[in-house]
């Protein structure tokens, strides 16, 4: 394979070289445990605080409201289980949607087995939650609302501010999984008025295995990982200093020129959507046309199946992802595509191509050139396709 173009930034991003450079000294030179008193450890402490400050700044949060975790999934689990168990005397009802990431969905399903009651809200054809549905779902025993900020598959961005407002009015704790939105949206936790927010470093050109949970002061939540007194006693474990330093740097860089980043991605995204839809018949755009992540392209090509599409793309060096069950060997296609009303057949033929900072116009042109004949070839093989 000669050319390799990466269109899977929503899955994970390559680390920026500036991020790696900042991390390097902390692996084996300034390696001390920040809980230690000696000079090897003291350095660790202040760099942790610097990273925390940087991230807090990007969210307009206070530094002491940012808690580092081992990734976005841990942050989601912590937020949801932590609030559920800490508030169970008050109630046992949780509201979420049908299009959450599995880190939220499976956590909610687990809590159902542990005696909690969960409402999974429907979304419309674009993947949007109706604020009135949220309002109507709130009951006396509702303790938590958790709604994904921007969907990882179809890219739809929810009216988080309006939902948080409803939540606040009813005195219910509100969490949002902002793993995809972070670095791709301007986020202000004060303006939004959210109580909890999950983010993850590897989606913003930082290291894998590091995330954070924003916890607004005063939010009642249990720990998920008990032990040492790290993270102000709220998340135990020797701090992953290089990882946290990298996350700090990556966050800072992500928000330095966020408008430029967003504008560039939107332009490439819309070019790709428009040209591919023009060139390939029987194609549908999944997600909202404008309320969507700047780098998200999600298309369904009728009559073909996602894995064979991905494989074919991989053969010409294009890396994408799909909502097809066959990708994963599971029976059902993506729960998100089902929730926006796609038939199984159409859902199986979906393709997600996500754009990021290293994507060039040339890369986009390459996809626009290569994809149509691939779709056509697979359609020719399909028993469902009648020319």
């Amino acid at each position: 394979m000669n050319k390799r173009v990466y269109f899977d930034y929503s899955a994970t991003t390559p680390m920026k070289k500036e991020v790696l450079e900042e991390m390097l000294p902390f692996f084996n030179i300034e390696f001390g445990n920040p809980s230690s008193i000696h000079s090897f450890g003291r350095q660790g402490k202040s760099v942790l605080d610097t990273a925390r400050d940087k991230i807090a700044k990007t969210l307009n949060a206070k530094s002491d409201e940012i808690f580092f975790t081992g990734g976005g999934s841990e942050a989601d689990n912590w937020a949801i289980k932590g609030v559920a168990f800490a508030n169970k005397a008050k109630g046992n009802h949780i509201i979420t949607t049908k299009i959450e990431h599995h880190a939220v969905l499976h956590t909610c399903e687990y809590l159902e087995k542990e005696g909690f009651e969960v409402t999974y809200l429907d979304v419309d054809q674009y993947g949007l939650v109706d604020v009135d549905d949220v309002k109507n779902a709130i009951k006396d025993n509702t303790i938590l609302i958790t709604i994904i900020y921007a969907n990882n598959e179809i890219g739809t961005i929810q009216p988080i501010k309006e939902i948080a407002q409803v939540s606040k009015e009813k005195g219910v704790i509100f969490h949002t999984d902002a793993v995809q939105a972070y670095g791709n949206e301007i986020i202000d936790v004060i303006d939004l008025s959210v109580d909890l927010m999950s983010i993850s470093a590897h989606k913003v050109y930082g290291p894998k295995g590091v995330g954070a949970l924003y916890i607004k002061r005063g939010t009642k939540i249990h720990q998920l990982i008990h032990g040492g007194a790290q993270e102000k006693r709220r998340r135990a474990g020797t701090e992953n200093i290089p990882g946290i330093v990298g996350f700090g740097k990556a966050s800072e860089m992500a928000y330095e020129n966020i408008e430029d980043h967003i504008n560039k991605l939107i332009r490439l995204r819309d070019k790709m959507i428009n040209e591919l839809m023009e060139k390939i018949p029987y194609t549908r755009l999944n997600g909202h046309p404008t309320k969507r992540l700047p780098g998200n392209v999600n298309l369904s090509f009728e009559f073909i199946e996602g894995e064979s599409l991905l494989l074919s793309l991989d053969m010409v060096g294009i890396a994408g992802s799909s909502g097809s069950a066959c990708t994963s060997g599971s029976l059902d296609p993506s729960h998100v595509l089902m929730a926006i009303g796609l038939s199984h057949e159409v859902a199986h033929g979906s393709l997600r191509l996500t754009i990021g900072d290293f994507t060039t116009e040339e890369d986009v042109d390459y996809v626009i050139e290569k994809l149509p004949p691939i779709v056509d070839r697979l359609r020719q093989m399909s028993p469902l396709y009648e020319k």
Binding site: I304, H348, P383
Partner: protein, 146 residues
């Protein structure tokens, strides 16, 4: 993840297409599950003289269809019925464990075509005892997401 042979049969599938007025036509799987395999057999004097397929499914489904058609071409109907999914997978230098069920699909498609052929002609093949063309092939559950 896939062997070179699988990739070859996926990228250059043999015998794609349809056969008009084929003696035997069978279809298994369903689009809901993300895979449909349709096979056309030209049978002349108990010999399978031509085979074609159309498949909606994953790379492994396409490769196993292609390989299966090659393996039964020129064989007698009885010989074709002896084709197992394992043999197809082996001929492709193996399949990842989660993808073994796609090869079952190929075995079933051949059987389904011959089942229809036999039914129309009132023929009985003991190899088809207990075969139900509408039975779902097994599906593993291995979803990952990002």
């Amino acid at each position: 993840m896939y062997s070179e042979k699988v990739m070859d049969h996926f990228m250059n599938p043999r015998n794609v297409g349809e056969i008009e007025n084929a003696e035997a036509v069978g279809q298994v799987g369903n689009a809901k599950c993300g895979d449909i395999m349709k096979m056309y057999l030209k049978i002349d004097n108990d010999i399978i003289t031509d085979v074609k397929f159309k498949t909606f499914g994953c790379g492994s489904a396409i490769a196993t269809s292609s390989m299966a058609t090659e393996m039964i071409k020129g064989k007698t109907v009885k010989e074709a019925l002896k084709l197992t999914n394992k043999a197809v997978a082996e001929a492709l230098d193996g399949l990842p464990p989660v993808k073994m069920h796609c090869s079952v699909l190929a075995e079933q498609a051949v059987k389904a075509a011959i089942y229809n052929y036999a039914k129309e002609r009132n023929l009985v093949y003991e190899e088809l005892d207990g075969f139900d063309p509408d039975e779902d092939h097994d599906h593993h559950d291995h979803g990952e997401e990002e």
